[in-house]
Point group: D2
Chain length 350, copies 4
Amino acid sequence: MIRFNSDYTEGCHPAILERLAETNFEQTPGYGEDVYCAAAAEKIRELCAAPDAAVHFLVGGTQTNVTVISAALRHYQGVITAASGHINIHETGALEACGHKCLAIETPDGKLTAEQVAAYVDAHYADESFEHMAQPKMVYLSNPTELGTIYKKEELAALYRVCKERDIYLFLDGARLGYGLASRENDMTFADIAALTDVFYIGGTKVGALFGEAVVITDEKLKQDFRYNIKQRGGMLAKGRLLGIQFLALFEENRYQEISAHAARLAEKLKDELIKMNVTFYIDSPTNQQFPVLPDAVLSKLSENYAFAYQARVDETRSAVRLCTCWATREEHVDALLGDIRRLLDTEEE
Amino acid sequence: MIRFNSDYTEGCHPAILERLAETNFEQTPGYGEDVYCAAAAEKIRELCAAPDAAVHFLVGGTQTNVTVISAALRHYQGVITAASGHINIHETGALEACGHKCLAIETPDGKLTAEQVAAYVDAHYADESFEHMAQPKMVYLSNPTELGTIYKKEELAALYRVCKERDIYLFLDGARLGYGLASRENDMTFADIAALTDVFYIGGTKVGALFGEAVVITDEKLKQDFRYNIKQRGGMLAKGRLLGIQFLALFEENRYQEISAHAARLAEKLKDELIKMNVTFYIDSPTNQQFPVLPDAVLSKLSENYAFAYQARVDETRSAVRLCTCWATREEHVDALLGDIRRLLDTEEE
Amino acid sequence: MIRFNSDYTEGCHPAILERLAETNFEQTPGYGEDVYCAAAAEKIRELCAAPDAAVHFLVGGTQTNVTVISAALRHYQGVITAASGHINIHETGALEACGHKCLAIETPDGKLTAEQVAAYVDAHYADESFEHMAQPKMVYLSNPTELGTIYKKEELAALYRVCKERDIYLFLDGARLGYGLASRENDMTFADIAALTDVFYIGGTKVGALFGEAVVITDEKLKQDFRYNIKQRGGMLAKGRLLGIQFLALFEENRYQEISAHAARLAEKLKDELIKMNVTFYIDSPTNQQFPVLPDAVLSKLSENYAFAYQARVDETRSAVRLCTCWATREEHVDALLGDIRRLLDTEEE
Amino acid sequence: MIRFNSDYTEGCHPAILERLAETNFEQTPGYGEDVYCAAAAEKIRELCAAPDAAVHFLVGGTQTNVTVISAALRHYQGVITAASGHINIHETGALEACGHKCLAIETPDGKLTAEQVAAYVDAHYADESFEHMAQPKMVYLSNPTELGTIYKKEELAALYRVCKERDIYLFLDGARLGYGLASRENDMTFADIAALTDVFYIGGTKVGALFGEAVVITDEKLKQDFRYNIKQRGGMLAKGRLLGIQFLALFEENRYQEISAHAARLAEKLKDELIKMNVTFYIDSPTNQQFPVLPDAVLSKLSENYAFAYQARVDETRSAVRLCTCWATREEHVDALLGDIRRLLDTEEE
């Protein structure tokens, strides 16, 4: 079984295991107050050209989303999100369990626009019953989105401007940020993202780490007391150094960018070759998640040797699936998959 | 200023004030454990042909919704609702503040169908990531809905059957129940509603009481420990007898039904006469909330003498508004309104 | 049965019922945005010599406590309270259900001291693990306390000073405030309380109203968006005018003060006469709640004709009970009770 | 600097790093549905002689506590805990943030007794206002406690019996369970604990793992839908296999027990030698946390070379500190510490 069903099927980049082994018997303070976390935070501040940013390390994505959002909002406030946003669909109501409503907006591609956000917020305050509705106070974006799409710099800049004009926080979920920045269609840097958000995170779990997400806070109000929130939401790892060590290993020698580029290249190969086979896509994704539409019969055969994620039924005989590449994907596996799809499609046509 | 903007613009049926005055210096135990609450509960059980039902009295609608729903659900469970449902739109995220997600389904008319509910729940369990999504465990209906529409008996029966097959609670918000049952299009009784739900409430606030909602619980599991939930959600009125006295007054001499019929008749008059003037409607409502579409110029003139609620822009020159009748509406006010609309429309046409 | 078990056994001052009847068919906007609420708020601002205070009307005490506290705190913050505080004991964990911890301090008499608060907060920040503990951000006092005791002006001033020095809110629960201010031992006015707290409320439910609590906010930060919080916590009464009308009636012609004085006088009579009978007290209360210690045999006999609340076992043969007077207590009932206790004690001794 | 301040100062047992390296490029399903988690769960079921137990792996202690407790309780229920319990003191109100009250009972040694629990629950139901108080529905124990003390088998059996008689869950926090079972004063096995609780966990973070806690559920009701709760509380690790692999490594070749015994032996050495020096203790702990009382001057000197945790001031010149041994503690460090304390005490006396 070759797995393309997600980007967290393997362990981690070997450099991380090496660093963990080297440092294993060192004694450090707990809870992220060690030298490795300090060094990793500094490295990330440099990468983001954000010398005053606060950097915190958490374990997983759902935890990070609820910690950041609940730290920012008061009880009666909600967060604007694409209806397809991870927080709205795939976190078992974790944010609502912290007391906050997802203010969901339908989108064709998982991306919110500045116009949508402006219209939503302005409509809230224009309604005479505004106090009877959750107050929009934060915008949640994922980049790449759950559908693999990414924001252009001018799109993010417009969103940020709309948010600042309305005194609303802009939060970017970068669980797959590496793969977004490595896309051939991307025009942003870490520094751009730091400059055009109030808080965002750099995903480790899906980009070469065993686990871990690095939260970068540039807004002053959000920095205050953030560690209380981490502790309260269960994200303060006792051996916090494990996170610092991993992010140090990922960001030395340009490693994070290189392994992201590897995944991006293989995803692009997958996409380009499928297009040559006249395969269509559920959504036009420029990143490591690809959503081809294939005949059910082909998928059934493929599933004997490959794992992929079911996305949606497209018509009576065809479905969309999700195929992920990642830092650890082997090119021969991509080639084998492409060969098998080509063969099955050819057979199908006969 | 004549008010048609809501159905809670006046005080209460005079019989209620009389009973409050008569009983004012009696001493009773607090928190709903008095003889008036007991008698009112018994009266409601009879009305509903539900001799084993638990009946509790709460103060307001939002409070009742969160108390019932949070009493029924475990933390990871959510409630299916029409996207236009009161709990999803107009309660400032009160339910999310209790930790639960609204699982919203778009509808054209504010009414959920049995098919929608079945499809939603079945899709949940068919998804291999089902544990990553809030579990649907209750259906919330309002009858009449926020758009004035009502459920037919067979529609409610189908919803109830779908819920029972899937082990899901069915909860009906009857904040305007009197006006629904009094509609010329209604085919249900209190007993039907008690038989086809697990819990519902009979609205007092909008139907002749100063305030108060009577919760009727027929499901055994929901009955357990319900008073803890009332207290926790701030709904346990110290002088609980005020609720018992009010519901007793409303349900003696068929009063609740009669004042509901009064409002229904005036709403029907309003609707019928507007139709004669070729006025169209935002939604075809058979109850006390009517949503005519009128030229903005007409609305602007009308607003000098009448209060109504803005509903939605329909096109560049016309908007839908909400007009409510209620137990206290005076027929001469309806006639005056109709006359003024007729006159303004005529002027408009010239 | 004559009831001394609580101060909410009767309906309301007759002037309130008169005003409700007079205004019954007036049409007003809902949700507290009517002229009666505006006038009552203005009256309260004058009474409190707090021209810039925000005044809001809520229905009940638990609801008011959770609304005020959750409006003030961020998720990771808690509220310091006497262990005997209502929020810590008798609200079914309502505050915790909103996500906040009660930081309880043991007291002999239900009163927190400035020293206790200062020590608690200073110890929090002195602990190197402070981020692992809920952050103290508000102090909750009740005046009178649950044990009938009251704060002296200099005690409240010291508490307020300690709070301001540490950037902590001071909130005073005045569910029985009238009875506190009417005590012969009181040295404070409404204006003193407004000046020495950030937010407090004037109880109506226990002091002559059918229901209702008037929240007075003097702190600017707490004023912001407060109505969202009221709506979210279920406290925004549709017919909000009912609260305005009641508080107007209570505060015209010095009525609130006079009916409080009536209850105070009768409580003092009760206390003084019991002392003459050599009855001791569980706590030395100067307000309308009295806690005499009586032989169980006497209590058993008394309970045939009088309702009172069991407080605590004192020794093998004696218990403390709570006797409340209120605005509606009849002096002949107090005399009858005293007579019966005297007679039963005499019999007991023989 | 030699660290005795906690038991999470080093990385992990080398066997774990070896297993992580060996399996690093294997592809597995995510979220704990892999073969390693299955095998580790089976191993733990055997160890606990609990063939029907559900076993789940979470990341950290606070997360595990809130997940288990919030999975068990309904909104209006609370958890009985020693006032010194971790959930009550050191989790930043994480449980309250999930909506539940800690029902704290003072204890001299961090241990609850069956009598205390029975009295608490019985008093709840004996109070006529019971619905006004959070309902006790679970007992939380830690073993070892936060003060290093442990439960004897007969104590746990009595607690379990009291809980079962009252239909209350018994939950044991075993963050340091290995060190408890390895104590010379312990008389329990894993199987005893599984048989005498409804749910408990075996701590990995403090006993040789990088991170991880293994939850063992024997109660049928608690098993239901538990994974939804894990996901909602942020504890469902994407690369769940990391937990399975670690617990497999810990439980092969009796490793968990052996490394626990190592820590226990060194703690006992520390204790016995300090006693010989006439050092007294804040609490008589039989496990890996020792709380000696030492002169402040000695502590000040010691702190130049050793890290320890400040516990409490004992008198004007002496304080209690916490010294922890763990799986990784080196005997020469213990000897050095003992030598330095002896020398400093001798100097002190002169």
